[in-house]
Amino acid sequence: MELTLWTYEGPPHVGAMRVATALRDVHYVLHAPQGDTYADLLFTMIERRPARPPVTYTTFQARDLGRDTAELFQNACRAAFERFRPAALLVGASCTAELIQDDPGGLATALDLPVPVIPLELPAYQKKENWGAAETFYQLVRALAGPHAPPPGTKRPPRPQGRKPRANLLGPTALGFRHRDDPQEVEKLLDLLGVEVAVVAPLGASVADLARLGEADLNVVLYPEIGLPAARYLERTFGQPWTKTVPIGLGASRDFLREVADLLGLDPEPAIARVAPRARWWSLSVDSTYLTGKRVFVFGDATHAIAAARVAREELGFEVVGLGTYSREFAREVREAARAIGLEALVTDDYLEVEAAIAELAPELVLGTQMERHVAKRLGIACAVISAPVHVQDFPARYAPQMGAEGANVLFDTWVHPLMMGLEEHLLQMFREDFEFHDGAPPSHLAATGPARPRPPAEPVPAAAEGSVRWTPEAEKELAKIPFFVRGKARRNTERFARERRLPVITLETLYEAKAHFGR
């Protein structure tokens, strides 16, 4: 038993949902109780998807347990197939159904549906969301591309003369951190080398697309947490090489071009010369000098944490004082990356431990997940989000990739934004005592909801203007119960209301009269 306040990852079937939702024409029948349907809101509210995820939950209840939950499952499969007509059906169990051992795979196969049925075994008491997504993607690729595999031991025929090399992009899913935008940027990088994109999967792919994954010359693994098992399978089965560099940041983007060129026998240099994000010059410009040596703490999934540490050091001139991940599956990689810069990696999925580490290191900037954003806010430290778990804010309306040239620009902007601007910081050092320009004040371009460091006392409160009205202590107390973000408006409206009616005292009654009066 493990005490958990907040989790970095959901259960593995949520990972499966991310893959199912990313694909165009599969449906997932999940043996699960009603409460598990909460997962739909991750997609419809956080990611603002305009359609429900393609998931049918059996929503069995206690009274079904003694009876036939297996039949319930089969009926749900049949009904889902009839209604949604998917090209392939995923079936599986959530944590509760795993305990009642109904064997969704066997039950669904027995229905003899005219489409591939792919059973998912996702041990809910051992594994987590990313693992579930990786396993689901792997099972799909095996089931759908597998039948097109050449006999074992067949050598991959050389690429026909005159045909451009082709690459699959593996790993982006629904609800991923900027998975929506990264593939486009990587496609631009590949285009510089004359490489075409064959299939992007799972995000936006169809069952037919998955079936032809083996045709490409190369697999680009965008997010190893999700795409790696499938890439390894495709390498074994189709002899396709895969890339190990994740092109986040300028340096990694250039390394990525080198790696792809190397795997395909191309010349990377012309392409490398053409990757020139503005961020590079922004970082060289004198205004950025003040970024030098800023102490940053980095935490996220392994891919984004490792990448962020490199960008922070090599491209922004920061000093990385802490590096960690919650992806235990990739602990080794993160430990190596940390060791290379003289640090001991923090590998944990207990956010309290992360919080303690941040408090202890007192960095000037935290690059983390939404969890670290909250921790940083509480500690009054600037923060930018670099990795899942995600929040509605991590799905901006604008194009905001992390990878490739534009990704490098996005990183520069989003990481520098929370910090004080250069000159502002100097002035602050000079005039520490200025009452509205003190060192507890947030950067001037950010809203006052920023770091909650202690402010000097006695903020001058403008006295109630013309025709003073008095509040009874009772009404004043009531006002304090109104949420702070509307309190000011409520006070002003009530005072205006009282003045207009020439009421000398604001009572509770007046407060509510005014509320009713101004209510829209």
Partner: protein, 419 residues
Amino acid sequence: MSPGCADAPIRKERGQREVFCGLTGIVWLHRKLQDAFFLVVGSRTCAHLLQSAAGVMIFAEPRFATAIIGERDLAGRADLDEELDRVVGRLLARRPDIKLLFLVGSCPSEVIKLDLARAAARLSRLHAPAVRVLAYSGSGIETTFTQGEDACLAALVPTLPEERRAAPPSLLVVGALADIVEDQLRRLFEGLGIAPVRFLPPRRSAEMPPVGPGTRVLLAQPWLGETMRALEERGARHLPALFPLGAEGTTAWLAAAAAAFGVPEGRFRAITEPGAERARKAVERQRPLLAGKRLFLFPDSQLEVPLARFLHGELGLVPVEVGTPYLHRAHLAPELALLPAGTPLVEGQDVDAQLDRCRTLLPDLVVCGLGLANPLEAEGFTTKWSIELVFTPIQGYDQAADLAELFARPLVRRTRLVA
């Protein structure tokens, strides 16, 4: 013939349900009971549900957590009792401010038949007198969304102090209400001369209300069937009433108490009329926009029937389907009587079939859960997400206009945005 839908048939539907489980109640209960802590004994799914339902909004160290059952526990390699004791010990060491701890059962803990009531009794002994430990189930196989609060309060009832024998009748308001609403109601009861008035749940665990045969109960929420049953076992009596939504609902709700406590008619009118009038006027302002609009409610919180009654009676909306996860016929009888005759009432859910009906009926306003709202908006429907109705103060006279506004806003927004 009886009016409205008092005896109307209720269609029961079985199929995929799209509702939260009872664990969700923790999201508001932990804010209300300020020295209580809710420890779910469950899976990573349960932890993730709570986190997703609560949003990262209330990230300030929450007074809830999940003891996630692991492979070792299931394989019998770890002793579940010992594990639970260890987890609770660690938790209480971290949070010495906790006076009341709820062990909250989940689907996995129910399926493996983990006896949390027994564990609670053991832990209570272990940590007495500093901390009291109680258990209830919020599992999705047994409870739907708001039923979690019912289960929690029902678990509290047997532990409430006994009312003194000779004590005069007292009023007990049951169901978590926003503090501001509670204070308004308190003042109204004071004005009516009804005393003592107590609330369950209280804000602090030391203020548990006593109960006994003199206790008269007003339910503030429609989902408290089990709690009421437990209170009746302690001798308390239920005062049937409309729920305090809107001017009419609030007056009727207060009137039920006034009648039980013999408040003279004149005094009742003098105390309630200003608030009622204010509420009527403020609600009336939304009427032109809302009257005649066709309303479809998906099942979510069990507030659906009282909401339909308010929206129909005070704002003139026409309910074309009222879905509810569970319908307590007796507690909702006064509400049902005020719905227009022939209103389709559906208990339970088959979400795909219900979506089909919604698409056929083409309502002007759909009240639904978070999973359905954006997809329906994308299809061109105007929606109001229902969870907000549970998380915002909507009861009483001075919230009536806010309640009306919650429904008006989506429609106003549609008219504002240029196509």
